[in-house]
């Protein structure tokens, strides 16, 4: 198992957060070169498209494709919003970038803004990231002082203002349209799509919302070229990603690796195997909003979009949650569902009413008052939630839920009194 170091290359350097050190390592050269040469923005978008970069926030949509949806002829201002509301359970990679190499992100902000024609960029960070907020705030100030942001950057004629904004602790604000509403200062309900933000986003203007890690990839792609990136990892989902491993491994943490590796190798190698020599029970591979994998699936799966799709799950935010044999899956899924019910914004009916109902059912099963019919009920309720709501929060709640109920049905049945089993009820 080979680890890589594109995004994390400077993480452990002394003074990695400082502008001076970043520039000594060649930082901002790409941005300034682009400005000096007055590169054609359309060509930069093509470069990113050809690189094969997919969004690192969870949905995994082609970044260059997203950029190309910004209407060229719109007279409205365009905006870049960087999504640093990282709140997906099991995900803690953006935080590393914010706290350890903020200028890498800021150079990406400069390049992305230039490419899409934005003169204002917002970096939206979750409020609990106290250290990250302070670090990024300082980095922005230093960049302004060095003439890297502001009016007529280095005499190029290009203006760019970068603002730092913060959430107030809601998971939903990581949904891109909620994030826009949050920046606008209104209740952060997700918006119905279409229109997509690229056409009508922040303040009803064309807006690109990209994840922190996605934007941090941009300087490397522009510097090294699309072909360089396209050759990293899996051909259909190339790149080097930060993988967050949490749960029952000996060495949890953030590991950078090119896509396409075997999940089992990451667990057994860098992560040092399951803690205390215990056996693996399950892995939720892409942040909590993805379908659970069983040990035999873990043994086969490769960590790239086609590979994980073949196992019926998704890479999501690359939050790999490892559960060993001591885990009660009923307890685990109840814990997750409490999170989704708590974080449901309450805008649309199926999620607002459905997620707390499912929590109530699971709690009843936990108390030993479950019925076997509850398992079918849960699956049916999930089918009335998934794909029926404004945003993907509810889908993200249903995927781990249904997959865990299906794959660990025996654990649920074990908590259901014999009298409430189907045989007993129908007899």
């Amino acid at each position: 198992m080979k680890l890589s170091n594109v995004i994390s290359a400077r993480f452990d350097k002394e003074g990695s957060t400082k502008l001076k050190g970043y520039r000594e390592d060649g930082g901002y050269e790409t941005f300034l070169k682009v400005l000096k040469e007055k590169r054609d923005p359309a060509q930069l978008i093509d470069e990113v498209k050809t690189s094969g970069l997919r969004g690192r926030g969870g949905a995994g949509f082609s970044t260059g494709m997203k950029w190309s949806f910004v209407p060229k002829d719109s007279p409205k201002p365009k905006y870049l919003c960087v999504n640093g509301d990282e709140s997906e359970p099991g995900t803690f990679k953006d935080r590393q970038i914010l706290e350890k190499d903020p200028h890498q992100l800021l150079e990406g902000v400069g390049l992305a803004s230039y490419a899409i024609g934005a003169h204002t960029a917002y970096i939206y960070l979750r409020c609990e990231f106290k250290q990250g907020i302070a670090t990024v705030q300082k980095a922005i100030r230093k960049a302004y002082e060095a003439g890297l942001f502001g009016k007529d950057i280095q005499g190029s004629g290009y203006d760019l203002d970068v603002h730092l904004t913060m959430g107030a602790g809601a998971y939903i604000c990581g949904e891109e349209t909620s994030l826009l509403n949050s920046i606008e200062g209104v209740r952060p309900y997700p918006r119905n799509k279409p229109p997509f933000p690229a056409v009508e986003g922040l303040f009803a203007c064309p807006t690109i919302v990209n994840n922190v890690e996605t934007i941090s990839n941009i300087p490397h792609i522009i510097k090294n070229g699309a072909d360089w990136h396209a050759k990293l990892g899996h051909a259909e989902d190339p790149g080097s990603r930060l993988w967050c491993v949490s749960g029952h491994v000996e060495k949890p943490g953030v590991y950078e690796a090119e896509t396409g590796f075997k999940l089992q190798d990451l667990i057994d190698g860098p992560c040092g195997g399951i803690r205390g020599g215990k056996k693996l029970k399950a892995i939720i591979p892409g942040g909590s909003s993805s379908k659970v994998l069983l040990p035999d699936e873990v043994a086969q799966v490769t960590m790239d979009t086609p590979g994980i799709r073949a196992m019926g799950s998704s890479l999501g935010s690359a939050g790999i949650i490892v559960l060993d044999e001591t885990t009660c899956m009923v307890d685990a899924v109840l814990n997750l569902m409490k999170f989704y019910a708590h974080e449901s914004c309450g805008q649309c009916t199926p999620c607002r009413e459905g997620t707390p109902w499912i929590v109530q059912i699971l709690e009843r099963i936990e108390r030993g008052e479950g019925r076997e019919v509850d398992l079918e009920l849960i699956e049916d309720l999930a089918s009335n939630i998934e794909g029926r709501t404004v945003c993907a929060l509810a889908d993200g709640a249903c995927w781990p839920l249904v997959s865990i109920v299906k794959k660990f049905r025996h654990e649920f049945l074990a908590k259901i009194p014999a009298a409430a089993r189907k045989e007993a009820v129908t007899a």
Partner: protein, 486 residues
């Protein structure tokens, strides 16, 4: 134009038309809660989901989705019906199901759709959620958080129609509820509209709540008599007593709204004491005797003026002016009543037919009125004291005579604004049909009949008056006097 198929039927619509609107043109009403055609689209309730081009994984909200060329829409496919039943179930699990004591019962889409998409029994065996109940949003509106389905029509009404935010959503997820803002009770003078647009019984009117089950009430589709705007309303009465006015949609006049003052004016028309039968010089008389007396008093009409109320219908006013013309009365004046108007719907002119009276040749009372021998007051209107100064005689025809009745040589009964049938012309120039919401009871004749008899015309029906009026005044499409039949 965009061509698409809805439930197998082809339909052509203007670009930008939503699926829900397109379905309506085919007579298909897609169920909806949060959608309201006079406030912005939100798309939160999810009951209007439809299937587009066979995609059952993701259904589409028909209230927001514009029609696309060649779309194949199904509004009642298996997937749609399952999703809709799911939404109904989700809305009902924590709903108190207290229809038996809920004012909305009988006009509640939650009830109506339950018949179509609800289930007779519940899969929900958990404890229902408790939320705040009987929250006074103001002295006009009460909120029940447990009945609320969070469609946010109420908050969006204030934001989008009234440009204010007295209420909003607080908390999140299942705990979400509508709450008063930091500035205290709602003060907006149009706030009772949120009671109408609330699709459930979460918002009730302090004035109407617990008064009557709506299925026992009688309704008249008519026009608000409160001001010159003529908002279209449905007047609701029970056993001869008005209990409420609610707005009736008219996109050209009031959309779906009306002001609270107009709405709450209904009780002004629940009069207990009124003029019944005719009086001459203070003594009971037959109608024939009273009319004969008027003829005698008016004589050749010189020095006599008619002061007609601007709440009289065009038909009544036509009968009055026909009589006046025949007996030589040339002063045709109309009364005036005002209240405080605003910049939305409420007009300063607090009468419903000033425009109609003016089209029929009535003029405001001149500031320097000529000295009069006699005054004939037709209908309910304040009489300027100066006109009464040196009169030989006063004829008063009004539902309630008041103090003036004692000075009247001839006193005749009349209809209140809510008992009239005919036409009012509003300040925008629309001729609108007025229907009686109450019956006047014994000893009161239709106003137009009184004036017809005086005029000696042979109109046997209101329709005949209408036709005569059209013929005499040349009612045109620019300045109509008669409401179109649509």
């Amino acid at each position: 134009m965009i061509k698409l198929t809805i439930d197998g039927q082809e339909v052509e619509v203007e670009p930008g038309t939503t699926i829900l609107e397109a379905a309506r043109t085919l007579g298909t009403e897609v169920p909806h809660y949060c959608y309201h055609q006079d406030i912005g689209i939100d798309g939160n309730c999810r009951i209007c989901l439809v299937e587009v081009n066979g995609n059952t994984d993701k259904l589409t909200i028909s209230c927001k989705q514009p029609c696309g060329e060649g779309m194949d829409v199904k509004t009642e496919s298996d997937a749609v019906v399952k999703a809709r039943k799911g939404v109904m179930e989700f809305l009902l699990i924590n709903h108190p199901l207290d229809c038996t004591i809920c004012d909305q019962a009988g006009e509640c889409p939650l009830q109506d759709y339950s018949y179509h998409y609800g289930s007779g029994d519940s899969r929900f065996v958990e404890q229902k959620r408790n939320k705040r109940k009987k929250v006074e949003f103001s002295d006009k509106v009460v909120f029940d958080g447990e009945r609320c389905i969070l469609c946010t029509r109420c908050t969006r009404f204030f934001e989008e129609v009234r440009d204010c935010r007295p209420i909003g959503v607080e908390n999140m997820g299942g705990k979400s509820t509508i709450t008063l803002g930091p500035n205290g009770p709602i003060e907006d003078p149009y706030q009772l509209n949120i009671v109408d647009i609330c699709p459930v019984g979460a918002l009730t009117s302090q004035d109407f709540r617990f008064k009557q089950r709506i299925w026992f009430m009688d309704f008249a589709e008519t026009v608000c008599p409160g001001c010159a705007k003529g908002c279209n309303i449905t007047a609701g009465a029970y056993q001869g007593k008005l209990l409420r006015f609610v707005p009736r949609r008219n996109p050209d006049v009031n959309k779906s709204w009306m002001c609270d003052d107009g709405r709450l004016s209904y009780d002004d028309y629940n009069i207990t004491e009124r003029t019944r039968g005719a009086k001459v010089a203070g003594a009971d008389a037959s109608f024939e005797e009273a009319l004969a007396k008027i003829g005698e008093l008016v004589g050749d009409g010189s020095g006599v003026a008619v002061l007609a109320s601007t709440s009289d219908t065009c038909e009544e006013l036509h009968a009055i002016r026909t009589w006046a013309g025949k007996v030589g009365v040339t002063h045709l004046w109309h009364g005036a009543e005002t209240w405080e108007g605003d910049d939305f719907l409420k007009e300063e002119d607090a009468t419903p037919n000033t425009a109609g009276a003016q089209r029929l040749g009535f003029t405001p009372v001149p500031t320097e009125a000529p000295s009069l021998r006699g005054l004939v007051v037709a209908g309910d209107c304040p009489v300027p004291p100066a006109l009464l100064a040196d009169l030989d005689f006063l004829v008063l025809q009004a539902p309630v005579a008041g103090e003036l009745g004692e000075a009247a040589m001839v006193l005749l009964p009349g209809l209140t604004r809510v008992e009239k049938k005919g036409t009012w012309v509003n300040c925008l120039g629309h001729a609108q049909k007025v229907q009686p919401a109450l019956e006047p009871g014994p000893g009161v004749r239709e106003d137009w009949e009184l004036w017809r008899d005086l005029a000696g015309e042979d109109w046997t029906t209101l329709k005949a008056v209408t036709r005569a009026m059209e013929a005499a005044s040349g009612s045109s499409s620019d300045t109509p006097l008669v409401a179109s039949e649509s």
